[in-house]
């Protein structure tokens, strides 16, 4: 089908003049009622058949078309008295202030006006650029003038009473300027002056901002609905138009009858109110117009504005076909590039495939299998564009026979097809990635656990969306640019954002322990998972052939990898003993052999820059990197299964003496706090710079108590059982921190609200259990107990206060940062890097001469730097540097 194409050259916005409105209109609307008693629309009413039809049984009186064909036609209302348009009050106000109230000229000397006009005429390109700045200046200056430079008239200050009433401050007091006077003044402004104020008199004369004729939109814009009870319910706009007509007619009558000014003005104000709320029902200063039920009406501005408005919801909010959404669940046996798609979904999502000599037989089979049997097809598209829905085809075999080259078959998605996978909120590039489809039983999408961090997904009920690209170009783009393995390195800091979490890290940590020895069967099982055929020589031959865990890991590392790093288990002792590290935290990889060190979060964790994983990807490329994530990680995870792992209460159990020592130390800290308080009371405390005496005291107390907790925590860590599984998790970085352990085993510590010790609830005390003004540790939210021992009721309450603050903070933060992100993205979305390396805006203005001023792509950089000299030297010197 040939569609005539036209190109939009320009869009111009302007005002409708009363003449234009009358020309657009198919007739005046004067009856404030919608339907006759017999149910036919009143011809002069707002539901007139001349304005188009929404009733399938009726024909439009203007164009004679029926529902789908008739576009609807505008009508108009002749207003008895002019009314100000709310959308333009601000501009009208400025114009009234900037022009003479007598002669209507702009309140600037003729010389200045001429100068600007000359610039406008002679340098139109420059004028276009500086127009807005000049205009604001002109208006600002003109508004200050006290006297007209043209006719010498003294200027009277104009005041705007929101939303739509103007007053003039004369010596004798304030006098109202009615809309007809406003209109008369605007009419006096000459075109030449009007242009200097930045307007185009051809498209928008100022007096058109005061309405004398109101346009009535077609009924298609405001359809009425017939309820089940047979009652008709009109659109909000229709209600508003009826209001306007009713008041307008009343006003007309009163004027004709020669009613007193007071009555006319009252009706005039009412007309102004209705017209104002017809345009915008959220104007400040007047009550919103309501439906009879008390519901606020949704008028013109409300239809456009905000999240549910025409722009954000109807125009920017796109809805798509070929998409699916369901709950996600984990599957460590999938590749990171795969996504598990339920068969049920695979039978609905389709890929269009063109019939060629090479696939015709296969496609015929798919057609015969039809839409309900899995590898089948849903539609056939013939070259003339006709679609055959296979659901309604009786003899699919016959249809399959008619298939020839050039037909398109919309077949079910199958293994290997490309799909886009997305989880909201889509905060960064990695929130939508391309995966290869793997059709699986059951009803959830499945994904490899390593891709959870970029999506920020977990499996507590999260749902995700899947989209099937339909064109060859889209598939090619998705495949080369968006595939998960292309996204491993984060463009934010260059580290791998896809990587190990929780069990993976723990498995690697356990496997790489010095005392891990494996039998042949175990090594076989692990290496088989990774598809590694090279079986290493055993480290121990007698009494039994045994392999170390490090040997297994070495078998997974690419040959030629050289690397050192400090593991997460590193205690940061003053001087590093390197190979003699008592915690085996000095990781050394030489030529693909793990020589020393444990593999933990720092080596394979997600979002860890300079990690082992990062090094593999940078040195050996994305393919080796994704192989490592697919295969080596499976080994780590399976070692967790092999080893077995659980945490129990004994993990945070401390010997009695240690507990007593902890209590002693805490009491000591408490004593120190009392000492400080005494010092403060005696006035001996030395004030810290920039702080009041009270703040100084708080800071010192805070310091004492947090030091106490740190010391106690260190002690607890030293005395926890070496076999403590909780400790292992904290050391390896797989889950929990040393702080969590301290809180469980030793003491929970100080609770804070707004960064201060707790003091709220009662006058000068947190709870009635304390004395007023008690500054001691216990009274201000210090929790002596550990989670294991249990909190006292008062401690529990303090802990709940601190905990609540955390919850509120996260709730507030997400909404605030979400809005900030939206605005940032709107502002930055069309910045781009040109081929010459400059950053430019959509209209080609330069922002930076070189992207980031150094032209470095952060995802390919070393911590933002183009080269990492230390690592380069290490690489050149190789293993020699380690010895």
């Amino acid at each position: 089908m040939l569609i005539p194409q036209k190109k939009v050259k320009a869009i111009s916005f302007g005002l409708l003049s009363p003449d234009v409105i009358r020309k657009i209109s198919v007739g005046s609307i004067i009856t404030p009622d919608t339907y006759e008693e017999d149910g036919t629309p009143i011809d002069t009413g707002p539901m007139s058949l001349r304005l188009g039809t929404i009733d399938p049984t009726q024909k439009c009186k203007t164009c004679g078309n029926r529902v789908g064909q008739c576009p609807g036609h505008f009508g108009h209302i002749e207003l008895a008295k002019p009314v100000i348009h709310v959308g333009f009050v601000k501009i009208i106000y400025q114009l009234l202030q900037a022009t003479c109230c007598k002669c209507g000229r702009l309140l600037l000397p003729q010389k200045e006006i001429d100068k600007i006009r000359r610039l406008m005429k002679e340098r139109p390109r420059i004028w276009a650029i500086i127009k807005s700045k000049v205009v604001t200046k002109v208006l600002k200056k003109a508004m200050k003038a006290m006297e007209c430079p043209h006719c010498g008239e003294k200027q009277i200050k104009v005041r705007l009473e929101r939303p739509t009433t103007f007053y003039e401050r004369t010596k004798s007091g304030e006098r109202r300027i009615t809309p007809d006077i406003v209109r008369a003044r605007l009419e006096k402004i000459p075109d030449e002056d009007y242009e200097v104020m930045g307007f185009n008199p051809k498209t928008s004369r100022p007096e058109w901002m005061v309405l004398t004729v109101l346009l009535v939109p077609p009924v298609t814009v405001r359809p009425s609905i017939t309820l089940e009870s047979g009652l008709r319910s009109e659109d909000d706009l229709t209600h508003k138009i009826v209001d306007i007509i009713r008041i307008n007619e009343r006003l007309k009558e009163q004027i004709d009858m020669g009613a007193p000014m007071a009555i006319i003005e009252e009706l005039w104000d009412l007309l102004q109110y209705h017209v104002t709320t017809y345009f915008d029902n959220e104007v400040s200063g007047i009550p919103p117009a309501r439906h009879r039920s008390g519901r606020v009406l949704r008028t013109l501005a409300q239809r456009l504005k905000g999240k549910e408005g025409r722009f954000r919801s109807s125009l920017s909010g796109k809805r798509v076909d070929f998409s699916a959404r369901t709950v996600i669940s984990p599957d460590p046996n999938l590749s990171i590039n795969e996504v598990g798609v339920p068969i049920e979904i695979a039978k609905i999502l389709t890929v269009p495939e063109k019939v060629t000599p090479w696939n015709i037989d296969e496609l015929r089979e798919l057609i015969i299998r039809g839409p309900y049997e899995y590898p089948g097809a849903n539609y056939i598209v013939r070259p003339d564009g006709r679609r055959i829905d296979l659901r309604y085809v009786k003899d699919r075999k016959a249809v399959a026979e008619t298939l020839t080259f050039g037909y398109i078959v919309e077949r079910h998605v199958r293994n290997g097809d490309i799909a886009l996978f997305n989880r909201q909120p889509s905060l960064h590039r990695m929130s939508i990635m391309a995966h290869k489809v793997k059709v699986l039983p059951y009803k959830t999408f499945r994904l490899n656990l390593c891709v959870c961090p970029p999506y920020n997904a977990d499996f507590d009920g999260d749902e995700m969306n899947l989209h099937i690209p339909q064109s060859e170009e889209a598939r090619a783009e998705a495949m080369t640019l968006m595939l998960v393995e292309q996204q491993i390195l984060s463009p934010r800091y260059g580290g791998p954002i896809i990587g190990g979490t929780q069990d993976y890290i723990l498995g690697a940590y356990l496997l790489s322990q010095k005392n891990t020895l494996l039998t042949k069967e175990e090594v076989q099982r692990l290496l088989f998972l990774a598809d590694v055929a090279d079986f290493p020589e055993p480290a121990i031959l007698k009494p039994k052939r045994l392999w170390t865990g490090k040997q297994v890991i070495s078998a997974l590392l690419p040959k030629g990898l050289n690397y050192t790093l400090r593991a997460s288990a590193c205690r940061k002792c003053g001087e590093c003993k390197k190979f003699e590290c008592p915690y085996d935290a000095y990781v050394v990889v030489a030529n693909g052999e793990l020589v020393a060190g444990v593999i933990d979060k720092k080596s394979i964790g997600a979002g860890e820059p300079e990690s082992l994983l990062h090094r593999i990807i940078k040195d050996f490329g994305i393919n080796v990197g994704s192989w490592f994530l697919d295969h080596a990680f499976k080994v780590f995870l399976n070692y967790t299964f092999l080893h077995g792992f659980t945490m129990n209460l004994d993990d945070v159990l401390l010997p009695l003496e240690v507990l007593q020592e902890i209590q002693k130390r805490l009491r000591e800290a408490e004593a120190k706090v009392w000492e400080l308080i005494e010092k403060y009371k005696r006035g001996e405390l030395e004030q810290m710079p920039g702080k009041t005496l009270e703040e100084t005291l708080e800071t010192l107390i805070h310091e004492v108590l947090s030091n106490a907790r740190d010391n106690v925590g260190k002690m607890a860590a030293n005395y926890l059982k070496a076999s403590s599984q909780a400790l292992m998790m904290a050391r390896s970085g797989s889950r929990g921190s040393m702080l969590n352990l301290t809180q469980m085993a030793a003491t929970v510590g100080q609770q804070t609200v707004r960064g201060e010790r707790i003091l709220r609830g009662y006058f000068e005390r947190a709870l009635p259990h304390f004395k007023k003004g008690d500054l001691g540790a216990a009274a201000r939210g210090f929790v002596y107990s550990s989670f294991k021992r249990g909190l006292t009721p008062i401690e529990f309450f303090f802990h709940a206060m601190g905990g609540r603050e955390g919850l509120v903070d996260t709730a507030v933060r997400t909404s605030q940062s979400g809005y900030m992100q939206r605005r940032l993205i709107n502002a930055l979305q069309d910045l781009h890097v040109e081929y010459d390396g400059t950053v430019r805006t959509a209209d080609n203005r330069i922002v930076q001469l070189n992207y980031g001023e150094d032209g470095v792509d952060p995802s390919k950089s070393d911590h933002g730097k183009a080269v990492n000299i230390d690592k380069t030297i290490e690489k050149v010197l190789g293993v020699a540097a380690l010895k």
């Binding site: 650029i129 500086i130 330069i846 001469l849 070189n850 001023e853 150094d854 933002g864």
Partner: protein, 80 residues
């Protein structure tokens, strides 16, 4: 009392501003294939622009310290 008046050009946080000659200006615009108003703007009334005597239509070269590149160059088109 110090007699000498302090000029903002001496301040550590004010980067080096250099007024381009006509030839330099032409060359730059050629190189970037742009019209001068496509560059970021600086007001002729900007304190530094006033001090170095930049007039509307000129282009100012700014050399400043950059956390990423060490030293970065930027250009400003002087507007009234």
């Amino acid at each position: 009392m110090l007699k000498k008046k302090f000029t903002i050009l001496d301040h550590e946080l004010v980067p080096k501003h250099i007024l381009l000659t006509k030839e330099e200006k032409k060359q730059l615009l050629e190189q970037l294939k742009i019209r001068p108003e496509q560059l970021p703007w600086i007001r002729a009334s900007d304190p530094v622009a006033k001090l170095i005597g930049a007039k509307p239509g000129d282009i100012v070269k700014i050399v400043r310290k950059s956390p990423t590149a060490g030293e970065a160059i930027a250009y400003r088109f002087v507007v009234p």
